[in-house]
């Protein structure tokens, strides 16, 4: 049976113009959430989001469903594009003048997707040490080595805790499944 995502991928492969619009509607919020954590400057983050979708649209043929979910592929593109933007010379220049702004920036506190408040609470309930690692690795694009340094932990511990964190999330989502499904039904 063809899932909704499979059907969308098929339409993207056929380069249907409407397919890009649908892809954007389905994933732009979640991807933008990751991007703004890595690149807080709005105009750069917006550029990164656009670039992410354009790259995905152009390279959809290189996406292999056997190697992972579509969203995983998209979020990796988004993260890499954001990190590239962060490292680019013009951005660094800008960053110096904006440093105050970044310090004030509150991760995850920009705006809240009301559809996902339930899930958000679940993430918030995560053990603090797990939440930090998920935040660093998933939302801020740190490598495991960088995260280990940042959290002042051995690399092996980081790896173990990431696994524990995701297990914890899976368990939490598992319990929440009916509610989550209900919420997903009301997604646009």
């Amino acid at each position: 049976m063809l899932s909704k995502a499979d059907a969308l991928i098929e339409r993207l492969r056929r380069r249907e113009p409407k397919a890009l619009s649908d892809l954007y509607d389905a994933y732009s919020g979640a991807l933008y959430g990751v991007i703004v954590r890595i690149v807080p400057r709005a105009e750069v983050a917006e550029q990164v989001l656009q670039d992410t979708f354009l790259k995905a649209y152009k390279n959809i043929d290189s996406y292999d469903p056997h190697k992972g979910r579509l969203f995983t592929w998209l979020v990796n593109i988004a993260r890499n594009t954001a990190i590239d933007a962060l490292r680019s010379a013009p951005y660094r220049q800008q960053q110096k003048t904006d440093s105050l702004d970044i310090l004030v920036h509150n991760p995850g506190g920009q705006s809240v997707n009301p559809d996902h408040i339930g899930l958000r609470d679940l993430v918030a309930q995560l053990d603090e040490k797990h939440r930090l690692l998920i935040d660093l690795l998933y939302f801020q694009g740190y490598t495991q080595e960088e995260a280990a340094e940042k959290a002042n932990l051995p690399l092996g511990t980081v790896k173990t805790r990431v696994r524990q964190a995701i297990r914890e999330l899976r368990r939490a989502f598992g319990e929440q499944t009916p509610a989550v499904l209900l919420m997903l039904l009301f997604l646009p």
């Binding site: 056929r14 989001l49 979020v75 997707n113 899930l119 998933y138 990431v162 995701i166």
Partner: protein
């Protein structure tokens, strides 16, 4: 590698987070293909991460979508023809290709039809020629049979007038057993312009017309009526194509 310890190693989480080295990626992808339980585990990890991302979703500014679609359209524009356009062109070309194909087939059929009809005509012509030759050959066979018959007389018609003596001669094959008389036309000269040769048999001292000599016939010989009482044969020159009742100028005569 043991599936359980592979899953427990945390490599799948690293994979889902995009944290693997190329070697690790290759290893994971190989395990994914080989073991459904590894696939299921990765799927669960990815779903969990995806749900976190949705939980932390930040709606981008509304104008961004239109700007993105505009950029996608611009990049798919005429400067860099994308697969969209190529596909479109290819699809719009389909009906034309069909029309061309059909037209081509029709043209070919018309050509083929006219070619076949030409061939048929040619064949019919050849069959008719063949038939004609068969008839000719049958007639020739009869003449050959006549010539081989020991009862056949070859009568040489020699010139009647003194001045042209020996110059004009014709041969007639006469066989009273078979009751056949045949004139060898090839032995005759061409008549003067506006003049015609008439063949005669002399019966009881009087000339009896046996018809005009057919110089332009299909065969090199002409079958004549058989008159058993004929004593001699003669050829006269006449001024009418249908000949005359009495010979005008007798050219040659031969006795039987």
């Amino acid at each position: 590698m043991d599936v359980k310890s592979f899953i427990a190693s945390g490599i799948l989480e690293a994979y889902a987070l995009g944290q693997c080295t190329p070697e690790e990626r290759a290893q994971v992808e190989q395990m994914l293909q080989a073991h459904p339980e590894v696939r299921a585990e990765l799927e669960a990890i990815e779903q969990a991460l995806e749900q976190i991302a949705h939980a932390h979703a930040v709606p981008p500014p509304p104008h961004l979508k239109e700007a993105l679609l505009e950029r996608a359209r611009a990049e798919a524009g005429p400067s860099t023809p994308s697969a969209v356009r190529r596909l479109g062109r290819w699809q719009s070309a389909l009906p034309w290709a069909a029309v061309l194909l059909l037209g081509g087939a029709l043209l070919w059929q018309v050509n083929e039809r006219s070619r076949l009809s030409e061939q048929l005509q040619l064949l019919e012509q050849q069959v008719a020629d063949c038939e004609k030759r068969n008839q000719q050959s049958a007639r020739l066979q009869e003449v050959v049979a006549l010539l081989r018959d020991p009862n056949t007389q070859a009568i040489v018609l020699s010139n009647a007038s003194e001045e042209a003596a020996g110059k004009v001669a014709a041969t007639v094959w006469h066989n009273s057993v078979r009751a056949e008389t045949v004139l060898d036309i090839n032995s005759l000269p061409a008549p003067p312009p506006g003049r015609y040769f008439q063949f005669w048999a002399i019966v009881q001292g009087k000339p009896v017309s046996m018809g005009m000599v057919q110089l332009n016939g299909e065969d090199a010989f002409q079958r004549l009526p058989f008159l058993p009482e004929a004593q001699a044969f003669a050829i006269s020159v006449e001024d009418k194509p249908q000949g005359n009742a009495i010979p005008t100028q007798v050219l040659m005569v031969g006795k039987i």
